[in-house]
């Protein structure tokens, strides 16, 4: 491990490939578009392979401490690559019939992934912010990609304005922390705070802004307003992207900022996260009940789920962080499958985004109804699906850290959640089909979506490998 560029090799490959696809696609006729697609997929595969091949047990720093390559980043980068690749497989047909299957989508997706990777392995405020903005800008433009759709334009506008505001807050908070500690390096900041140096008031102010920025990026209440509109307005393929891999990056962001840099202010941010977590779980789940659009429902479910993730996070120890990480991974897997099914049912001129569009799915296709059933039970946290273990882990972490009443509130909130997830199951299984159009999709899409759904069950029966990986990745990255 001698070369200084090795820790950022996946990012470098990805950037090069994004540029190549950008250029190549200009010269390709629409009928050859699949070349770009497969080139993108090959790049993602290569990134994943490089990430695995260069994985080291010990953290490795590069660019004078701007970037860190540890087990945590390797694990999250690998999952991000897999999630983005899966997303592209799921959305290909959906985008094609809407005339959106263009080179820009692939390039923007790759650049968004690049942003996530930079965020994931950032060891300095500078790189963190750089990655965050790259990701956000790609997402803004992807939401707006469906130019003729009013809803999409509105969603993109909201997302951009609120996102810019949140980025500003985060930057403002970071600058205060910089002012108080004199450093942008997260480890050095941690040392300064630990030594008791730095102005406490300024730090606290900075912390408030940083937490607000994080909460916005996660979509935690009360910074959640953009989530339903963006999820609803964006093309489902883009919703799928927003709802999955960036959550992994956002977790990394939260961990690097709060868990490392500002770990010394643990007692201060714990209190803030308690409020965010409780409000998100309750408001997200209660509001989701009233939704008739499945994308909006899943948006509120995301809000609630981020609340659960924070519940594990705020325990502020290895058990808590690993539980939160396990939760995010489980959530990403489930979320992929949920939007995957929504897109599977969509066809030309029909979005399949209302809950009633799932009516009688069991009659139309027992298999996809079963996959959606697994997704819903996993989101509701019913064993033996993966979602149950994720909820169990975060609640156990919270109880272990002494937040018993918060844990009780969490289980009650998840019961409320069970109600609206069940409604989807009810519509699929207990009502008769109105729409009897056969479900058509490419073979790779079907195979992947089936595997994704069954993974929820498989990891539910054997959660130990995934859980163990989360613990090892965090422990090796210095969270003990």
């Amino acid at each position: 491990m001698t070369h200084a560029l090795l820790p950022v090799l996946p990012e470098a490959v990805l950037l090069a490939a994004a540029c190549t696809v950008l250029l190549l696609d200009l010269f390709l006729p629409p009928s050859r578009r699949h070349w770009s697609f497969w080139l993108t997929q090959a790049t993602l595969l290569a990134c994943a392979a490089i990430t695995v091949a260069t994985a080291e047990l010990q953290p490795l720093h590069a660019f004078g401490g701007l970037v860190v390559d540890d087990m945590l980043s390797d694990f999250l980068k690998l999952l991000s690559c897999v999630a983005v690749s899966t997303m592209l497989f799921y959305s290909r047909g959906y985008l094609a019939v809407r005339g959106l299957f263009r080179g820009e989508v692939l390039v923007l997706t790759m650049l968004a992934l690049l942003g996530m990777m930079v965020m994931i392995s950032a060891a300095s405020f500078l790189t963190l912010y750089l990655g965050l903005e790259l990701l956000a800008l790609c997402l803004y433009s992807m939401v707006a990609m469906h130019r003729t759709s009013n809803a999409a334009s509105e969603a993109a506008m909201k997302y951009f304005v609120l996102g810019a505001l949140a980025s500003g807050m985060l930057l403002y908070g970071m600058s205060m922390v910089y002012g108080a500690t004199g450093s942008l390096d997260i480890h050095r900041i941690a040392r300064v705070i630990h030594a008791g140096q730095g102005n406490g008031t300024v730090l606290l102010f900075g912390l408030v802004f940083v937490v607000s920025g994080i909460a916005f990026k996660l979509g935690a209440v009360p910074y959640h307003m953009w989530v339903p509109d963006v999820y609803h307005g964006a093309p489902t393929a883009v919703t799928l992207l927003i709802g999955t891999a960036p959550k992994l990056a956002a977790f990394a962001l939260t961990l690097r900022l709060l868990g490392v840099a500002l770990a010394g202010l643990e007692f201060d941010w714990q209190g803030m996260l308690i409020v965010l977590s409780l409000l998100s779980m309750v408001l997200g789940n209660v509001t989701a009940i009233a939704q008739t659009n499945i994308k909006r429902m899943l948006a509120y479910s995301t809000i609630a789920n981020m609340g659960f993730m924070l519940l594990g996070f705020l325990a502020a120890n290895l058990a808590g962080y690993s539980a939160a990480m396990f939760y995010v991974v489980a959530y990403v897997l489930t979320s992929l499958a949920s939007f995957g099914v929504v897109m599977l049912l969509a066809r030309e001129g029909f979005e399949a985004d209302r809950i009633e569009d799932f009516r009688g799915l069991n009659q139309r296709s027992p298999w996809w109804a079963f996959i959606m059933l697994l997704v819903m039970f996993s989101l509701a946290g019913v064993p033996p699906t993966l979602g149950f273990y994720a909820k169990f882990a975060v609640i156990e972490a919270a109880v272990g850290a002494g937040f018993i009443w918060l844990a009780v509130a969490a289980v009650l909130a998840s019961l409320v959640g069970a109600f609206y997830y069940l409604r989807v199951v009810k519509v699929m299984y207990f009502e008769d089909a109105v729409d009897t159009t056969p479900i058509v999709a490419r073979g790779d899409n079907r195979a992947l979506l089936s595997a994704n759904g069954l993974a929820l069950l498989l990891f539910g029966i054997l959660p130990q490998p995934l859980m163990g990986l989360c613990v090892v990745a965090l422990a090796q990255s210095g969270f003990l």
Partner: protein, 538 residues
């Protein structure tokens, strides 16, 4: 070793069956039915073999399997048979083929999915009974919900969606609080003894202060009491029963309700003995209320399925009464009563299903004089009615008699200590027997006798399949009524263990430096409470 593997095969056989069913080509409904019946029969044969091999002189687990499952959390895959679950496992396996055969003609829609659900629920129920690790227990416990939810929702009656969502939310509400309690219990075990374990055997050694025990028992108890169901948490039951297809009702009444009482017996009471002592009058009161209230409400029902549904509430009240008596007679009576109710309620629900298939109504007023129209049916119905009432020589008698014996034994000891409340409650419970006879006999009188009437005539009497199903149940009812000695021997040691676990205070804090092994309570030297009914029966 071989038997331990066999127990695993028994549990996972239904899952293999589901795989076979899904692989079967569409439209082969007859094949699907026969295949499921064959699997269930095979399962029963294996369970019967294990039951015969079960050694009643061994305290503790037999045919045990213990493998690490989720190492990070100290969770093990641990299953085995003991005196607590051996009879219930046998009963579950016994009802399996009957449920399948009972649904042969009733279920015409989505046959493959239906039998898959029956197999899935069978798997989850057996798993819940044999699980010896709290986490595993919880996973199986919750897994039961999914197939039952779908079964009521897809194949149920008119208000099936309301009923099934109510069922799901009620039970999920109970179990989710139990989940929080489980986590707290395990973490406190970890902090006091240093062992991270979900194994029942380890959790029985936990030491908790009384107030914590009370909260945890409330959380566990809520979950179990909803399943039992105990008044006032029973309102999901009539809806679920009435709307469920016959097979669903049979599973619900036959096995699912016993999950609640089994939970109290295996977990709720032994895990929190001091809280149990503190709550005994309250639990006894609720049990008696369930007995009397269930009987009274059954009396005024006009829907025949509801009568049996409410009678379940009443009968399960006896089980709870027997358990809290902490008297050997009472505990064993409770176990017998669980099995007995499983048989009679299953039989009665099957009979309701059979008449419903013929007449398409459950209104009692539409029927009369069936003894003339359906003589064979009426004979079986009369026998099961009498068994439900608890006539001597039937299983119902053994169960109720032992429970009341135990309850009075305990109440008398309390009376001698100066407390009259238990005695009064036990006396009220006796009235449940009279009320039970009243509503069941009145029901049978209106149903079987008087002027002959029934909609959708003419219809045939029971065919061979139906006679076989009911004949087997009736035979079992008599066997359990006439020879209760054999099953009671199998459960005796477990009943004694239950008595000992609940009779031992565990509020004390372990002395420093002592490893978390060995019988905890006798060593901590805490003064024993004056507790009635904890000694062996007179």
């Amino acid at each position: 070793m071989f038997d331990a593997a066999l127990l695993n095969i028994v549990v996972y056989l239904p899952l293999g069956g589901i795989a076979l069913l899904l692989a079967a080509p569409a439209g082969q409904d007859a094949f699907v039915r026969r295949l499921t019946l064959g699997l269930m029969t095979l399962q029963l044969a294996l369970v019967a073999w294990l039951y015969l091999r079960f050694d009643p002189t061994v305290a503790g687990l037999q045919f045990e399997t213990r493998l690490p499952w989720i190492a990070s959390w100290g969770v093990h895959y641990q299953i085995g048979l003991d005196g607590y679950n051996v009879l219930l496992v046998l009963m579950t396996a016994f009802l399996g083929p009957l449920v399948v055969a009972g649904a042969f003609t009733a279920i015409r829609k989505d046959v493959k999915l239906f039998y898959s659900m029956v197999l899935l629920i069978q798997f989850a129920m057996l798993g819940t009974f044999v699980a010896q690790d709290l986490f595993l227990f919880y996973v199986f416990w919750e897994t039961m919900l999914i197939p039952m939810f779908l079964m009521i929702g897809i194949w149920g009656g008119e208000r099936r969606i309301y009923a099934t969502i109510k069922f799901f939310l009620y039970t999920a509400f109970g179990s989710i609080l139990m989940l929080a309690a489980v986590i707290y219990l395990v973490l406190s075990l970890q902090s006091t003894t240093g062992i991270t374990s979900f194994a029942f055997a380890d959790l029985y050694r936990s030491q908790l202060p009384l107030d914590v025990q009370c909260i945890l028992l409330a959380a566990f108890g809520l979950s179990f009491a909803i399943k039992v169901p105990m008044v006032p948490l029973h309102t999901w039951l009539p809806d679920a029963h009435v709307e469920a297809p016959t097979a669903g009702s049979v599973i619900l009444a036959g096995v699912l309700l016993k999950m609640g009482t089994y939970g109290f017996m295996k977990l709720g009471f032994p895990l929190f003995p001091d809280a149990t002592l503190a709550f005994t009058p309250a639990i006894m009161f609720l049990a008696v209320v369930s007995i009397v209230y269930g009987a009274c409400v059954a009396l005024v029902q006009t829907d025949i399925k509801k009568i049996i549904a409410y009678s379940s509430i009443s009968h399960l009240g006896y089980v709870m009464l027997g358990l809290v008596s902490l008297n050997l007679y009472g505990i064993q009576g409770a176990v017998i009563q669980m099995v007995s109710h499983g048989l009679t309620a299953a039989g009665l629900f099957l009979m309701v299903g059979m008449i419903y298939e013929r007449c398409h109504t459950r209104e009692l007023a539409d029927y009369g004089g069936l003894a003339k129209l359906l003589p064979v049916y009426s004979v079986f119905f009369a026998i099961l009615t009498l068994a439900s009432i608890g006539l001597p020589t039937t299983s119902g008698f053994t169960g109720e008699f032992l429970v009341l014996l135990g309850a009075f034994g305990a109440a008398w000891q309390q009376y001698e200590l100066g407390s009259t409340l238990p005695l009064a409650l036990a006396s009220v419970a006796v009235s449940g027997v009279v009320l039970g006879a009243l509503y069941m006999l009145w029901f049978a009188q209106r149903f079987l006798f008087g002027a002959a009437k029934a909609p959708h005539q003419p219809f045939g009497d029971l065919d061979l399949r139906e006679r076989a199903i009911l004949g087997i149940i009736v035979a079992a009812v008599f066997v359990l009524g006439l020879f209760p000695d054999e099953p009671m021997r199998k459960t005796e040691l477990a009943a004694k263990q239950f008595q000992q676990l609940v009779g031992t205070s565990r509020t004390g804090v372990r002395a420093a430096g002592e490893p978390g092994r060995g019988p905890a309570a006798s060593e901590n030297g805490a003064p024993r409470f004056a507790r009635a009914g904890t000694g062996s029966a007179p």
